[in-house]
């Protein structure tokens, strides 16, 4: 319980410090809106050219886009410590400070940054989600609600896990290694569309290595009533657990890496 309280308090304080610079905050939030709005426009324009992509109608595609955006940007907003701030924390020696406090390192990393500008991206994603849901005429049930919540939660854990790979490298080399971005940002862009529109190698990548397909597409397809690969309904609830596994594995590696942390300067 103490951890959750600490996280909420930290978030409140970080929000306060961001609002110390209101003009910059507004400008950046606006920039994000334009960026993410543009991305959604691109999807709308592409979808406009076809009546459907495989078995997916435009409404379905908007829904996939919405699920992906909401998940990804919620993670970036609340997990900013892992998804963005960590490399500079290592370089500037802030990690030393965290190690000097009687709390878990990952907890403190998560407590040390928030990115409220993403709220606009989340809003665009939510709008796409609602729009897709209306256009495809989804009949919402309690189970479908659970599936969506699980997909967002565990998808978020998986994304955190992927970003943790970069953190692990960072602890060893004190440098930021951006190659993992291919999986994270690349994964987000690619997996805005359902996995079955892609050729086999990409499908493998986003099912086995960075299982966006399992955390996002399987549940979303279930909610749309067109199960992916005709898998049975229970898969929509079991597959997202892969996201939790990715997180657990990366968390173990992260803890190991800290034993080899070598700090910087004096």
């Amino acid at each position: 319980m103490g951890t959750v309280k600490l996280y909420l308090k930290s978030m409140a304080m970080l929000l306060k410090s961001q609002l110390e610079y209101p003009a910059s905050f507004l400008m950046q939030t606006l920039a994000q809106l334009i960026m993410e709005g543009g991305e959604f426009m691109a999807v709308i324009l592409i979808v406009d050219r076809f009546d459907h992509l495989n078995q997916w109608t435009p409404g379905d595609l908007f829904f996939f886009f919405g699920v992906m955006s909401v998940t990804f940007y919620l993670t970036e907003c609340f997990g900013r410590g892992v998804t963005g701030a960590f490399p500079s924390m290592v370089r500037m020696g802030q990690l030393d400070t965290l190690l000097l406090r009687p709390r878990g390192v990952l907890t403190q990393v998560l407590c040390s940054a928030i990115d409220p500008r993403r709220i606009t991206c989340i809003a665009v994603g939510a709008a796409a989600l609602v729009m897709g849901s209306r256009m495809s005429g989804i009949q919402w049930t309690f189970l479908k609600g659970i599936a969506l919540a699980e997909s967002i939660l565990l998808g978020g854990m998986m994304i955190l896990g992927l970003f943790l790979i970069e953190c692990v490298f960072c602890v060893y080399s004190v440098k930021s290694v951006e190659m993992v971005n291919a999986l994270t940002y690349g994964g987000r862009s690619a997996c805005q569309y359902p996995i079955d529109v892609y050729p086999r190698p990409l499908r493998l990548l986003f099912t086995v290595v960075a299982p966006f397909a399992l955390t996002q597409h399987v549940p979303a397809a279930y909610i749309l009533g067109k199960p992916l690969y005709h898998w049975p309904a229970w898969t929509a609830f079991v597959c997202p657990l892969a996201g939790g596994m990715v997180f657990a594995i990366m968390y173990c590696l992260f803890r190991r890496a800290l034993r080899f942390y070598r700090s910087t300067g004096s």
Binding site: K16, E20, G93, T97, L99, L100, P102, Q108, S266
Partner: protein
């Protein structure tokens, strides 16, 4: 059993050089930051830890505070092994890095302190009592609502100290706490550290390059160089080994050439006077004075011991650091 026991502590870093042109692999060099350091510190001691840059001082502090894992040797602080029981250990220690802030940059320092209370899970009443005590001793009362970024360096150091002592640690590491401070802030800081040490029996380990800090605070000094401990004892003992020279500054009436001095003495022209360095053991002061008087009427003369920084520099030179 001592409070801190360190036995044969070793730490090696691998430093990769930048790849040279035409080479595929980068050259690796091993740097032994600590080559088997041993010492022990009793509860309530105030110990100075000195040595030139790169001697391994910070590495020692980082190992003892649980940030780094050593490659060999043992260390125990209050019965805990820092890097194995990190969370339990850091509950009982405070660390101040002179060049690194531990508080939040954009929020009033009072908010930082409130968050630290939650991080260390200090009961509210105890926290308030301690906060009152520290804000009074460090004269922070009027600054509590000011964001850290708006504080001057001296104010910031006081704020950092307060933050690192809020959870009433039994051990305090200070890494160059007076770096860049003005005279008034330095003196205030020293007074406060003495107060904290006496009032609460806090054990303090201080690394610094400022010998005045050591002279004012520490009854015991450890000298570290090239990863080994070179000296452990009182500052007076350390100085008496190297404090062998005296300095005479003098000015003659009118222009007067200096007489030839005995071997081992040095003279520098300073304005219209001279500055002479000699060792009283080889050339007694009386002999030196009569020699100087023989050259002409002396208008002004002062004799003084060598500056403490010079002594330390001599010492480092002699120890080949």
């Amino acid at each position: 059993m001592s409070y801190i026991t360190v036995t044969d502590l070793q730490k090696t870093f691998t430093v990769r050089k930048k790849r040279e042109k035409g080479h595929l692999t980068r050259e690796k060099t091993l740097v032994q930051a600590l080559k088997g350091v041993s010492f022990s510190v009793e509860r309530g001691e105030l110990v100075g830890y000195i040595g030139p840059n790169g001697a391994g001082k910070s590495t020692t502090v980082k190992i003892l505070s649980g940030i780094l894992t050593p490659d060999g040797g043992q260390a125990e602080v209050g019965g805990r092994i820092p890097w194995q029981q990190r969370k339990e250990h850091v509950r009982h220690i405070g660390v101040v890095f002179g060049q690194r802030s531990q508080l939040w940059w954009d929020v009033p320092i009072a908010d930082s302190y409130a968050l630290l209370k939650d991080i260390y899970q200090v009961p509210p009443q105890q926290h308030q009592k301690r906060l009152n005590e520290l804000t009074e001793a460090l004269d922070l009362g009027s600054l509590l609502r000011t964001p850290l970024r708006l504080l001057s360096l001296g104010q910031r150091m006081r704020a950092e100290l307060c933050g690192s002592l809020l959870h009433s640690p039994e051990l305090l590491f200070l890494d160059e706490p007076t770096i860049g401070l003005d005279a008034v802030s330095k003196l205030a800081l020293r007074d406060f550290l003495q107060f904290e040490n006496r009032q609460h029996g806090t054990t303090i380990l201080l690394t610094t390059h400022d010998m005045e800090d050591i002279a004012a605070l520490c009854s015991r000094v450890m000298v570290l160089g090239h990863g080994s401990k070179l000296f452990d004892g009182s500052l007076a003992d350390l100085l008496s080994r190297y404090d062998t020279q005296r300095i005479i500054s003098l000015r003659y009436d009118g222009d007067c050439a200096l007489p030839p001095l005995p071997a081992g003495c040095e003279s520098i022209r300073e304005g219209d006077g001279y500055r002479i360095t000699y060792a009283p053991q080889t050339v007694p002061t009386a002999q030196m004075l009569s020699l100087l008087q023989s050259a002409g009427p002396i208008r002004e003369l002062t004799a003084q011991p060598q500056n403490i920084d010079h002594l330390i520099a001599d010492m480092y030179r002699e120890m080949d650091l």
